[in-house]
């Protein structure tokens, strides 16, 4: 009877430990992409509104730095955009600047190449708020595997300058 009771205590400890692990995993998933949890699109067809310049910059900053852009920076960047007639060019130059700032959350090339599937899925979720299709995943994987000069910065820049990223 005493042995049976001891076995019960050990079993419940083991099972409750396992439950804790699962709980941790769920929490990690919930906060993985944004400061606040976001819902993923099921397809890009759901995106039909174009971001304004300030929305674009604000979201881009959040996506690259995992934090909201400070208000003063947003105002100054808004002025920079207003001062240039070609807004696409303005966006491009601001993105290039962001990509050199300290604090940017971007994998190293080694990390990217170590797990391309995970990198690609993560990038689609980060920038497009959706999962890649199988075709997209395979194409991009082949592209990166066949060209060792492709860096995470180039991939991120291509996402951020693409048409889909301009929409929500």
């Amino acid at each position: 009877m005493k042995k049976f009771f001891l076995l019960g205590i050990i079993s419940s400890t083991i099972f409750s430990s396992c439950k804790k692990e699962v709980l941790k995993q769920n929490v990690y998933d919930n906060v993985y992409y944004e400061v606040t949890p976001v819902t993923l699109y099921t397809s890009n067809a759901e995106k039909n509104k174009q971001k304004s310049s300030l929305q674009y910059i604000s979201i881009l900053f959040s996506d690259l730095f995992n934090q909201s852009i400070p208000g003063s920076d947003l105002n100054n960047i808004g002025e920079a955009i207003l001062s240039i007639g070609d807004k696409g060019l303005a966006n491009q130059m601001i993105l290039e600047r962001f990509l050199t700032l300290p604090g940017i959350s971007i994998p190293t090339q080694t990390q990217m190449n170590a797990d391309l599937n995970s990198f690609i899925t993560s990038a689609y979720q980060r920038f497009y708020l959706r999962n890649p299709t199988e075709y997209e995943k395979i194409y991009l994987k082949n592209l990166i595997q066949n060209d060792t000069n492709i860096t995470p910065e180039i991939v991120y820049a291509a996402f951020a300058l693409s048409n889909e990223y301009m929409f929500y």
Partner: protein, 443 residues
């Protein structure tokens, strides 16, 4: 044999269709190449509201109970004030005044609409007066001179050939294209506000970005094209003009170069030798970077403004100082144009205010006890001038037209005049431009 004959005739008919004359709305066959006067135009809107008294009439402090004198010796002929100098006099950079190097419309009218800055700019840039409120950051109703140029010039020109550079923001960035249904951003001009683009904000947020080598740009574009091919919408609705990819890369490289040189302090200043850069104004900054654009792109049509004179609402002394400095800047710019192998002797520069200022002062006195002036659509605020300066073989030199009470020309005449200079005036549909070409200026 019949079959061969049929094919021959069909080929001739098809070729005829391709090469048939294109009948323009004006009834002309083919788009006329257009006889150009010169290949480059720079319009300087000497804006901010300039009183005729202190500019053309060289009254200096006469209306403040003191002496007269010319504080714009680069633009007008006349002796500088000999006493009571409230500004630091800069020796003129022009050997002889711009008025003597072209045609001087001494009395031009801003005939209709409120004498507000946005209205004045819009009339000058669209060739149509407007009653639209002064502080609306909206594109004008009528096409701008940039759109006329890009739509009607033959051959068509991309946006890198035409620039609008403004001293300030507010509604002015919206003047590079109109919301007219037949024109719009696809015919608009490139635009900078240099104080922001190349000033502290530009240095903080546009400079020192990631530099991609040409091969990397190719990789990025390959990837971007793939992403775009999987999305059925285009970001073509971004407000503003869209350069073609070649021009965008060229402008991108230009911006990086100019930002670098700004950071290193190697961009040339429009200041007399020995004068500190602390004397720079917003107007001079705009002129400084306009020259960077002119010497790099040699655009065919450039419009810039000055604006700091508007301090006259409360500071008459500051108004005189800024007028003197802006005059120097215009003279400096003309010298630079004449030093450039492409632009020299092939450029016409036009200078004109947006509007004038009131005859009577408001109730404000500045630190020197001088009365300030507003611009509230009285007759005096409708008096302006225009200088049309250019090669002696093309532009009448030392010719003065108009006098007080006998105006010659209106501010809405500048757009048709530019269209005439660049050879596309006849292509613009009748009724679009109510003004006239200032033909008196040309040989």
């Amino acid at each position: 044999m019949k079959r061969r004959s049929f094919i021959k005739k069909a080929s001739i008919a098809t070729a005829g269709t391709f090469f048939a004359p294109y009948i323009l709305p004006s009834g002309r066959l083919f788009a006329a190449a257009g006889d150009r006067v010169v290949n480059h135009v720079v319009l300087v809107l000497f804006a901010g509201g300039v009183r005729h008294q202190e500019s053309v009439e060289q009254a200096y402090l006469t209306y403040q109970g003191s002496n007269a004198g010319n504080i714009m010796q680069n633009m007008f002929t006349g002796a500088a004030p000999s006493s009571n100098l409230l500004y630091n006099p800069w020796n003129p950079i022009q050997g002889s005044s711009l008025a003597s190097q072209g045609t001087f419309f001494k009395e031009l009218q801003y005939a209709q609409g409120p004498t507000g800055h946005y209205n004045g700019h819009t009339a000058a840039i669209t060739g149509n007066y407007t009653d639209v409120g002064t502080n609306l950051a909206i594109n004008p109703d009528f096409p701008t001179v940039f759109e006329y140029y890009r739509r009607h010039n033959d051959p068509a020109k991309s946006a890198i050939n035409t620039w609008w550079m403004s001293e300030g923001l507010g509604p002015y960035p919206a003047l590079n294209y109109s919301k007219h249904g037949m024109y719009g951003p696809m015919y608009g001009a490139n635009y900078f506000r240099p104080y922001s683009t190349f000033g502290n904000i530009g240095l903080d947020y546009l400079n020192n970005g990631l530099t991609l080598q040409p091969d990397d740009v190719g990789r990025l574009n390959t990837m971007k094209n793939f992403f775009d091919s999987n999305f059925d919408k285009s970001a073509s609705d971004l407000p503003g003009i869209i350069n073609n990819s070649t021009d965008r890369e060229t402008i991108h490289a230009f911006m990086k170069d100019v930002l670098n040189r700004t950071q290193n302090g190697t961009v040339e200043f429009p200041l007399p030798n020995g004068v500190s850069t602390g004397e720079m104004t917003g107007d001079l900054i705009n002129i400084q970077y306009t020259w960077e654009v002119l010497k790099n792109f040699h655009p065919e049509l450039t419009v810039i403004n000055t604006f700091n004179l508007d301090t006259c609402h409360s500071d008459f002394t500051g108004y005189l100082k800024n007028m003197h400095k802006a005059d120097y800047g215009v003279g400096w710019l003309w010298n630079k144009i004449q030093s450039d192998p492409v632009l020299q002797n092939d450029t016409i520069m036009i200078c004109m205010p947006d509007h004038g200022r009131n005859d009577l002062p408001n109730n404000v006195y500045d630190a020197n006890g001088l009365r300030a002036f507003d611009h509230t659509s009285d007759d005096n605020s409708r008096r302006v001038f225009a200088l049309i300066v250019g090669p002696s073989a093309k532009v009448n030199q030392n010719l003065v037209l108009g006098s007080a009470g006998n105006p010659v020309g209106q501010t809405i005449d500048i757009v048709p005049t530019i269209a005439h200079i660049l050879g596309f005036y006849d292509q613009i549909a009748s009724g679009m431009l109510p003004g006239q070409v200032l033909t008196q200026a040309f040989i």
